[in-house]
Amino acid sequence: MNTVELTKILTKRFGYTTFKPGQLDVIQAVLAGQDTFAVLPTGTGKSLCYQLPGYAASGSVVIVSPLLSLMQDQVARLHYLGEKKVVALTSNLTAMEKNGVLQQLWQYRFIFLSPEMANQPRVRTALSRLKISLLAIDEAHCISQWGTDFRPDYLELASLREQLQPRATLAMTATATKRVQADILVKLGLTDTTKKVIYSVDRPNIYLDVQQYANESGKEQALIQLCRQLKKPGIVYFSSKQKSEEMAYKIQKETGIKTSFYHGDLPSQDRYAIQQQFMEGDLAIICATTAFGMGINKANIRFVLHYHLASNLESYLQEIGRAGRDGQQSVAILLFQPSDIRIQANLLASGIPDKGLIKQYFKNPNNFKAMHFPEVDLLRFYQQHGYSASAIQQLLQKRQEEKRLALGGMLSYITTPNCKRQFILTYFSDHKSITCDNYCCCHNQAADYLEQLDLITNTGKQKEAVSYVDWQSRLKQLFFTEY
């Protein structure tokens, strides 16, 4: 299909008139039946690369995605665009709903599922009956054992590919080191003829800043001050749910800026509400855990602050990548105080079974049959794939080591006295050449850098905090009526 035809679809279905860098390359390749590997930075419309082919070719598009929240966001986004033939095969479906979906699978244009779901025999059988125009692997770095978010079920994707025989396969990620990139190709069984579309991870319109504080209260004050000053909307990321709630209340109370929190413990109806308010501009700041914003498509986010550091640079780039999708100047500020390292170090060990558990498990796996938490699931997976206890032990130790290294990368980013942007580029073996100027990063930073970047809000008095309208007016608004 030529560019004009594709642009027509782009406008009709998605409301855009031009493609972003990389999109057209990827779309044309997969439509020509070519397996493709795409590294496109977050915030540049990766999802369009598999969405648009759904309208340009017959057959279904199957998207393998690592996170439930990510799938939900993508489904919601497609619903918004008026697409009804979309489904997410998730654990949220009741058995009856799932049966219904599997029987009618052919009628969906977009099918989202996790690698774990794709490995269920019943699901595979249903999928193999379909004509699949595109198999898309989102967040493909999860397939690599060198990647920081490795998930064992991703290892089965090569066999899935073989069984489904899609017209084309598309592996996508926003950030991957050279080693991870090579590993992704091998693990998916993709050959050297695979088309590679690789763009720089750099997002030039996001200014990179790291601020260090002596203690927690200093950091809290700084956060509140930044929220007051900065142009909005913005996101503040936390690694603790409780802290996100606490700070959301504090910010709102002290600044009067409409702020709310968002994390995985909120019931889905509340999560929906908060996302919508943010999208519609009713909320200016969200204090969130990483559960927020995977698929958030809000173009004008001016700042992403990190109250706690991310566990690795990959995640950090993903998170700050939600800023400035409209191309306007934005800022990412990481607030750091020494004891923050402890939080991350504790998180490192979570989810990874220790020696004792491995030994217990292998002594009698049946005792663990009914248990479903990450550590045991991981052991079960490896055991079923013929790994011995000692092999697993070794493998996990290596994983732990990888994670520690990745955290080390994050810490080096924080402490490097040199250009932060250059640090990131080097870390990802990205050869883009940049100049470290006033729009780059906190290296040689002027005191009034936020003014220079024009990121200081000029509305003197902030709007009063949330209020509500009575039910009579609300009904009138809803049904648009004068009577």
Binding site: H79, G82, D270, Q276, Y468, L478, F480
Partner: protein
């Protein structure tokens, strides 16, 4: 006041209560033993009040109340302390307590609520001819049900008609309550608030807001059931969710039993274990009025039971004491249910001992 203080309402100063049974009841786990506990504790209407209640948080709440000296624990059962009773009384005066909710009269309330808000959203957007919006994320079944409803009623008058029904409903409520409830409505260019936000706006606790939401929905279901002609659109939305007090299987057994069919015969006809049949009857005895006790309790059995337990508080009746006297557990439990239902406070001894 803390959120956990709501849990005080589930306990009594005199009666020792099993927290597990109460938790199961709130979550809507339908077993005869949970239902019987509900009857015993006078908490039956709370069946299925909070289907998503978190076990760990529930237990943590009880632990804290115990630490604060408001609950006491003995043999896995709790009761209020004197201070706990005082707190409970004070709490009721200033906090919202559900008035209309009854898990047996409004089954499927959560589904109805999901459908109600989605149907309203779809209608609002449709009124403004807008197709690009984020529909509320609710379960597949509920989405389908709303789709069916919408296809049936789609017309230029739909907005006006649905508005009329909403008005009719909300104006029956106190302004404050209707305002709270309407904050959850979504539609064209109108976002809804999350529960913690509504709590902040109205200076309530989040759990209190959730209870308002549930209780007001229960009220709506009652109205829709009582006068469907006043709410044709909402009644149609409710209709597929309506069901009787008994589970379908129990209802069938009970109907056969009322026709005089012998229990063994019913078990054969229904290809069920006799134990299941007696469970069905116990469920009917607990949940429905006018159960024909006389058909299953002979005078001799009653006399034996009365003689054995005349000196004992009903909560302490032990089946073991009559097991040897040719009394089945079914007979024992049925007698107990009848006794509770015919005495004030479910036969709870209100004197501390």
């Amino acid at each position: 006041m803390e959120q956990e203080d709501y849990l005080l309402l589930l306990f009594d100063r005199v009666q020792w209560r099993r927290s597990r049974a109460i938790l199961n009841l709130l979550k809507g786990k339908r077993t005869v033993s949970n239902l019987y506990a509900g009857l015993t504790y006078q908490l039956l209407p709370l069946y299925q009040l909070l289907p998503h209640l978190n076990d760990v948080k529930f237990q943590r709440g009880l632990d804290r109340l115990k630490q604060r000296g408001l609950l006491e624990l003995g043999e896995k059962r709790y009761r209020l302390t004197e201070a706990g009773l005082k707190s409970q009384r004070a709490f009721i005066l200033v906090h919202f307590v559900p008035r209309w909710f009854n898990g047996f009269r409004q089954p499927n309330l959560q589904h109805f609520m999901a459908r109600l808000f989605l149907a309203t959203q779809v209608t609002s957007e449709y009124t403004r001819h807008n197709a690009r919006y984020y529909p509320l994320e609710i379960s597949e079944v509920d989405q389908q049900a709303v789709k069916v409803w919408f296809t049936q009623y789609k017309s230029p008058q739909l907005g006006r008609n649905l508005l009329k029904e909403w008005r009719q409903f909300l104006q029956q409520l106190p302004q404050h309550d209707a305002d709270i409830y309407s904050q959850f409505l979504v539609g064209y260019k109108i976002t809804r608030y999350a529960v913690p936000q509504v709590a902040q706006l109205f200076k309530l606790m989040p759990i209190e807001v959730a209870l308002y939401q549930i209780d007001i929905t229960a009220h709506l279901i009652n109205l829709v059931q009582r006068t469907p002609v006043d709410f044709p659109l909402l009644a149609e939305l409710w209709q597929p969710l309506a069901q009787g007090v008994l589970s379908q299987s129990s209802a069938l057994t009970y109907r056969l039993a009322l026709q005089g069919t012998d229990l063994t015969k019913i078990a054969q006809m229904r290809r069920l274990r006799p134990g299941t049949i007696t469970e069905h009857l116990l469920e009917a005895a607990i949940l429905t009025p006018n159960f024909p006790y006389a058909a299953y309790l002979t005078t001799t059995q009653r006399q034996k039971l009365a003689a054995t337990f005349s000196e004992t508080v009903i909560d302490d009746w032990q089946y073991d004491l009559v097991a040897a006297q040719d009394i089945s557990f079914f007979t024992f439990r049925l007698y107990q249910i009848e006794w509770r239902k015919s005495h004030e406070y479910g036969g709870i001894d209100k004197n501390l001992n």
